[in-house]
């Protein structure tokens, strides 16, 4: 399309430290794109290079046909919603929002500002100063101030990070609907995987300055490419095994003595040692020995070591004979048997829910508990 944003081999070094490492990224026009990664992985630096506030050490940034790599920030059709909002304290809300239009010498500034304030539901605060607003209101002003310029790309740097959980969930939905309404390209940076998945069409998972995987939230979730993605985006059970036989699209594995099936579509490696992965909610439990048939994968002889009831579901930790603890989420449908610590159980899941990852990766990468 016309004005895709394209980063090619973009690297940014601060001294000897590489903050962004040989990044290749294409963000289609009009998409809601999320850059997801833990703190310090280079998300802000990437955004700042797109905004022109930081110059790449090497690589090029194209906006449509135009090379903007070294273009001054004030000449780029790109606007930013800053992490801390960075509202001008000496200007009223209306003047904050009008700032970009005035600099571009646009006409009808006042009426456009009115419309924009209406969009973010802040008309009644037009004459206030930023310091007189709550965090959520300031966030909307920051959004309005950037959005009013109708940039070809809107950059949002953890825009909801300073809000409390409830307000954040609400703003996620509002931000998404505003994006649909205005149809601009949004590049949304966050370390909250749930936020990224709720809002974005495409998510790029970033780690240590590199993109680990890029795709729709479903793709990333169902077929993670690395152990980092498998752990950072939701949770995963990763069990070591090896590929025994391959029949067309179907792979048969030996996992701790059990025969486990997988589909090639969700396999990053198709031979040798692997991490066999499955999401906790894909797994269901049965009492030890109650066989569930041949087309499901079964890991047997587990012992329930912990049960936590969380309303909609029950989360089990099951200790396997080889010592590993696996996680199982069961919906509280009421139709299924409940287990207690010490119960002997088997774990079952459908073969297409197995994903296979390179065994040389660290199985705990990205598994640190992120704040909710």
């Amino acid at each position: 399309m016309g004005t895709d944003l394209q980063l090619t081999s973009v690297t940014k070094r601060f001294g000897t430290f590489t903050a962004v490492d040989d990044l290749d990224l294409t963000i289609p026009e009009g998409s809601f794109f999320a850059l997801l990664g833990p703190s310090g992985c280079g998300k802000t630096t990437t955004l700042r290079m797109v905004a022109g506030l930081e110059e790449p050490t090497t690589g090029t940034i194209m906006l449509g046909e135009q090379d903007i790599t070294r273009l001054k920030p004030y000449r780029r059709p790109v606007n930013t919603v800053f992490q801390s909002y960075a509202l001008f304290p000496h200007l009223t809300i209306a003047d904050n929002v009008a700032f970009g239009l005035k600099r571009q010498r646009r006409k009808d500034v006042a009426s456009t500002v009115q419309e924009m304030l209406a969009l973010v539901e802040l008309e009644h605060l037009a004459k206030r100063r930023p310091a007189q607003l709550s965090g959520g209101q300031q966030q909307r002003v920051a959004l309005a101030r950037a959005l009013i310029n109708q940039p070809q790309v809107l950059l949002l740097d953890e825009p909801l990070g300073a809000l409390d959980l409830k307000l954040r969930r609400q703003m996620q939905l509002e931000l998404k609907s505003i994006q649909t309404e205005v149809g601009l390209t949004f590049v949304h940076v966050t370390h909250d995987q749930e936020e990224a998945m709720t809002m974005a069409d495409t998510v790029a998972v970033m780690n240590e300055g590199r993109i680990e995987q890029l795709g729709s939230p479903e793709e990333l979730y169902e077929a993670p490419a690395t152990t980092f993605v498998a752990n950072f985006l939701g949770q995963s059970n990763l069990v070591s095994g090896s590929v025994a036989t391959t029949r067309g699209d179907a792979l048969e594995l030996d996992v701790q003595g059990a025969r486990i099936l997988a589909h090639a579509a969700h396999a990053r490696v198709t031979s040798g040692e692997v991490w066999a992965g499955v999401r906790p909610e894909k797994v269901y439990l049965s009492g030890a020995g109650d066989d569930d048939g041949a087309d499901v994968n079964t890991l047997g002889d587990g012992v329930v070591s912990d049960v936590s009831f969380v309303g909609v579901s029950t989360q089990y930790l099951v200790r396997m004979p080889w010592g590993q603890e696996l996680t199982v989420f069961e919906q509280n449908t009421g139709a299924r048997e409940r287990f207690r610590p010490g119960d002997k159980v088997d774990l079952h899941w459908r073969p297409e829910h197995t994903f296979l990852l390179d065994a040389s990766q660290d199985a705990s990468a990205g598994a640190e508990v992120e704040d909710a």
Partner: protein
């Protein structure tokens, strides 16, 4: 969005404002007044009393003298005489002070800006360098400018060689020397408040400006300068007011035609003509108060005074 949503997201500082009224507020109010007392007494003793005395002196009959005593006759003629005799010195004082203040802004703003934003780990050292001259006396510093600007010294020789000055040209004992001295002596009073204001500016605000289509110059005009305004106003007052009343610089670096109002007041006091000296002082004070008031109103930072 619900009102409850807004309130729940208030920061701790904001939330405190909405908190229940302090039950001890009454007691605190009293102790507040008590704490004001020493300051109020000080002001009464060293500001109100001297000011009243000064105004009273300015209305004494000028035919008296220190030895014979003065008569309080409500002699307004003192003011008319003072303004008639010393009008040029008056205007000159305000003009010199204005030029020196502008020079302090021109020199001080880039300096304060550099210390605030560009100095990095040299910041403290540069601040010390700005303050360091205060460790020697005002008089000594001004005297050393006599030397720097002297007719037979390096600066004048170089300027003559470069034909900036004529072969007989000189710097000392000129209005230029007086204004230079004033600028030099009051520069720190401009730099420090400016630095304090600039230093508080979040660099992300400047980035936000450039992100929103403002060139570096426009960002400076629309973001940096307004946010530095409290410092600029404070610096201007701290420079202009003492410069307008100064007599040392004119005394040491000027000539009889660069005399400022401070020199005249000092001479009049020396000669024992207290009523005229007092009338001049009161007039200068009034003029400065009016100018400051107009300036502060124009600069839009009433919170400063």
């Amino acid at each position: 969005m619900s009102a409850a949503g807004h309130i729940s997201s208030l920061g701790p500082a904001e939330a405190e404002l909405d908190g229940p009224p302090d039950p001890e507020g009454q007691k605190r109010g009293w102790s507040g007044y008590l704490l004001l007392l020493p300051g109020a007494l000080w002001l009464l003793l060293f500001f109100v009393v001297p000011t009243v005395t000064l105004v009273a002196t300015s209305l004494y009959d000028p035919s008296g003298s220190l030895q014979l005593g003065y008569q309080m006759t409500g002699h307004w003629q003192n003011y008319v005489d003072a303004l008639r005799d010393y009008g040029p010195q008056f205007v000159r004082s305000l003009i010199y002070a204005l030029i020196a203040t502008i020079a302090c802004i021109v020199l001080g703003f880039p300096l304060a800006y550099a210390i605030a934003f560009k100095a990095g780990r040299w910041k403290n050292l540069m601040l010390v360098a700005v303050i360091a001259p205060f460790f020697t006396s005002f008089l000594v510093r001004t005297l050393s400018w006599q030397y720097i600007l002297g007719d037979n010294e390096a600066l004048v020789s170089v300027l003559r060689a470069l034909h900036v000055l004529g072969p007989e040209g000189y710097l000392l004992a000129t209005p230029f020397a007086v204004v230079t001295g004033l600028t030099y002596n009051f520069l720190p009073f401009m730099v420090l408040p400016l630095y304090a204001s600039l230093e508080k500016i979040d660099p992300r605000l400047i980035e936000a400006g450039t992100d929103l289509y403002a060139s570096p110059f426009t960002t400076f005009r629309t973001v940096t300068l307004p946010l530095a305004m409290p410092g600029l106003v404070a610096g201007t007052l701290l420079t202009f007011i003492p410069a307008a009343g100064d007599y040392i610089n004119s005394e040491l670096l000027g000539n009889p035609r660069t005399r400022m109002i401070g020199n005249e007041i000092q001479d009049l006091f020396g000669a024992g003509d207290y009523p005229t000296a007092a009338a001049l002082s009161v007039t200068l004070m009034a003029a400065i108060v009016v100018l400051v008031f107009v300036y502060v109103r124009r600069a839009g930072t009433e919170e400063l005074v």
